[in-house]
């Protein structure tokens, strides 16, 4: 690891890369970015809505600017206010975090036009990769395996039936502009095809203002495996290994780990090579994730996420590399400070997402006030959270309360450590419920412990529970 030398400052340069970085996000990721900036000697400005004025990121930042009311459309999703705040505070760069404007090429373009560095890939690269159908074509062209599916977006019933017939049921209908698990529907019966197609388009139009959808073969018991890449503007692309994110509830990731357990021989090399090839083909810069489905010995590219991801800490834990730091270096025009040699993973890391959701009400998000909030600690446990005792969970945003990340020499020890860590997490307050119990169930599940689970794990677990009830 000695090659990962102090990356904060370019050799020979006196000061930090940027004087000031504006963080255009909220919650744990805003705090995460502030932390790395602080360590690099960079001033931070955090923009926030009225609902977030007491947030941990605002407290931690050097400066904050209130940009709008709680509703995201008028604050975190409103480019003019963010750019104005950057100009007023002298920020040379904007870190968009994940979600919100992080993959919006228009926002990146506006930043560029105002002389502000957008910490992410170039706008045109984001535009190309953000269109899921287009991205799939690009990657197929670069020699990556892709899931059988529609060549482009599907816009009429004739096309729909022809495509579905060609690739066979079950199919998954996805919004071209979708992401974060929204705008996806699985079709298992022919008579569901047209209604689901229409419903998905309607949702896509409502949520993403873009009703284009495309079709893919749905892999029933596939694993979700993704490869983290870093690329700079000097032609260097390195991968930092893979993550398994197969534990999902309705396409939302709950548990992520690295390395991916139980891959067949050669699979890891195939995926990481494909990701590096894809990044080069796309002209990618910064931190990015190539997502794949893996089923047995088959693998297929799904999409690229053009941003830091929620689950990036598991990669940090096994490689020792601060991904946000590399993002900032690349955005400042510096070469990557790490080589693939440095990135060789060590041990096993797992992340669990603790959400403020009520299991008894179908995991509906539950805002409330945190009276008690004592995160776990101790050996090889990292907690990324913006929550603190007395903090009131606002109703406007996603329900992520905390990410608990553990590291251990092997997977079994890592699972034991995670169970210990989640078990000591104390969270309570009027109306506050969390997903901790569900996560504990996953960690105790024999299929998960054996590393043989797929994206259908939670449905299977629910089925088992139903079976047991029926049997009892």
């Amino acid at each position: 690891m000695s090659a990962v030398s102090s990356a904060a400052r370019p050799a020979g340069a006196g000061g930090p890369l940027f004087d000031t970085v504006l963080v255009a996000n909220r919650g744990e990721i805003a705090l995460r970015v502030v932390r790395t900036c602080r360590e690099m000697g960079i001033r931070t400005v955090v923009v926030h809505s009225t609902a977030d004025r007491d947030s941990a990121a605002v407290r931690a930042a050097d400066e904050s600017v209130q940009i709008g009311p709680g509703v995201p459309r008028k604050s975190y999703l409103y480019p003019p206010m963010i750019v104005e705040a950057a100009l007023r505070t002298g920020a040379q760069a904007i870190h968009p975090g994940y979600g919100f404007l992080s993959e919006d090429p228009d926002f990146a373009q506006i930043c560029a036009e105002n002389g502000i560095v957008f910490i992410g890939p170039r706008p045109e690269v984001m535009a190309r990769l953000g269109d899921k159908a287009l991205a799939r074509d690009l990657m197929a062209g670069a020699g990556l395996p892709v899931v059988p599916g529609s060549a482009r977006t599907v816009s009429n019933p004739t096309d729909l039936y022809a495509t579905a017939k060609r690739i066979g049921l079950p199919v998954i209908i996805k919004a071209s502009a979708g992401g974060g698990g929204r705008g996806m529907s699985v079709v298992r019966q022919w008579d569901e095809l047209l209604p689901t197609f229409r419903a998905t388009r309607a949702t896509a139009r409502a949520v993403f203002n873009d009703d284009r959808v495309y079709l893919e073969r749905f892999w029933e018991h596939a694993r979700h495996v993704e490869v983290q890449v870093l690329a700079d503007g000097h032609g260097n692309v390195v991968h930092l290994g893979e993550r398994d994110c197969s534990v999902q509830r309705r396409h939302q990731k709950l548990v992520e780990e690295s390395p991916a357990p139980g891959l067949p021989p050669g699979m890891r090399a195939r995926l990481t090579e494909a990701a590096v090839r894809g990044a080069l083909a796309a002209g990618y810069t910064g931190a990015g994730t190539f997502e794949f489905l893996v089923s047995g010995h088959d693998a297929a590219f799904i999409e690229v996420n053009c941003r830091i991801q929620v689950e990036h800490p598991v990669t940090e834990a096994v490689t020792g590399i601060d991904l946000v730091r590399e993002q900032i270096r690349v955005a400042a025009g510096l070469p990557l400070s790490v080589t693939e040699e440095d990135a060789r993973p060590r041990g096993v890391a797992i992340e669990c997402r603790v959400n403020a959701e009520d299991p008894s009400r179908d995991f509906a998000p539950c805002p409330g006030e945190l009276v008690e909030f004592v995160p776990p600690g101790g050996p090889f446990v990292r907690v990324d959270t913006h929550a603190y005792p007395g903090w009131r969970i606002p109703p406007y945003y996603d329900s992520l309360l905390a990410k608990v990340i553990v590291w251990a020499p092997d997977r079994e020890a890592a699972i034991d450590r995670m169970r210990r860590a989640l078990g000591e997490f104390r969270i309570s307050g009027p109306g506050v419920r969390t997903t901790t119990e569900l996560l504990m169930d996953v960690l105790a599940d024999p299929v998960f412990r054996a590393g043989e689970h797929s994206t259908s794990l939670l449905r299977q677990m629910a089925g088992d529970a139903t079976d047991h009830r029926a049997a009892g």
Partner: protein, 175 residues
């Protein structure tokens, strides 16, 4: 292995408690009441609903609080704090005109010109009282209600953030 936490103080009649009482008295009324009221806050926060009545007594001094009856309602989540500031102004009967966007506040239509309004001016509802420039767009700031300008909070050409009070109006008396 049950433990009896509540029992300890209860059985502690005797010299020790007497001296404690002395110490309490020695703290003075302010400190003592402060301790007591914070203790009360603990108790009030603990329950999912608001008490109907609370009494804090220290010697001859006492504080009694009664809450209005709210039948069957769980603890009302307090108003988000972003509404608190205008409310404070409202306590003085003043109404704040706030910035609708992040930007730069201008009191006058152009450099060197006379301000839109001065303290003491009467303004009509909808009358322009300033500008906030954001992304090179001039956003007119309008009075929401008729009244008298009581105070100009932000100086000319100063940066403002969303929701920041720019000036205070004393609303025209309705009576």
């Amino acid at each position: 292995m049950t433990r009896s936490r509540a029992q300890a103080p209860a059985t502690g009649d005797g010299d020790y408690v007497d001296s404690l009482e002395q110490e309490m008295a020695g703290l003075g009324a302010e400190a003592a009441m402060d301790i007591l009221s914070r203790s009360l806050a603990h108790a009030v926060r603990a329950a999912p609903c608001v008490p109907s009545r609370a009494l804090v007594r220290f010697g001859c001094a006492s504080i009694e609080v009664e809450w209005p009856a709210a039948p069957g309602t769980p603890a009302a989540p307090g108003l988000p704090r972003d509404q608190a500031e205008p409310a404070e102004d409202a306590a003085d009967g003043l109404l704040a005109v706030t910035a609708p966007v992040v930007g730069t506040f201008y009191r006058a239509p152009e450099p060197g010109a006379r301000p839109f309004v001065e303290v003491g001016d009467e303004v009509a509802a909808g009358q322009q009282v300033g500008i906030v420039e954001a992304m090179k767009l001039m956003n007119p700031i309008l009075a929401e209600a008729a009244g008298t300008v009581a105070k100009v909070v932000v100086d000319d050409a100063e940066p403002v953030e969303y929701g920041q009070p720019l000036l205070l109006l004393r609303p025209r008396s309705e009576g």
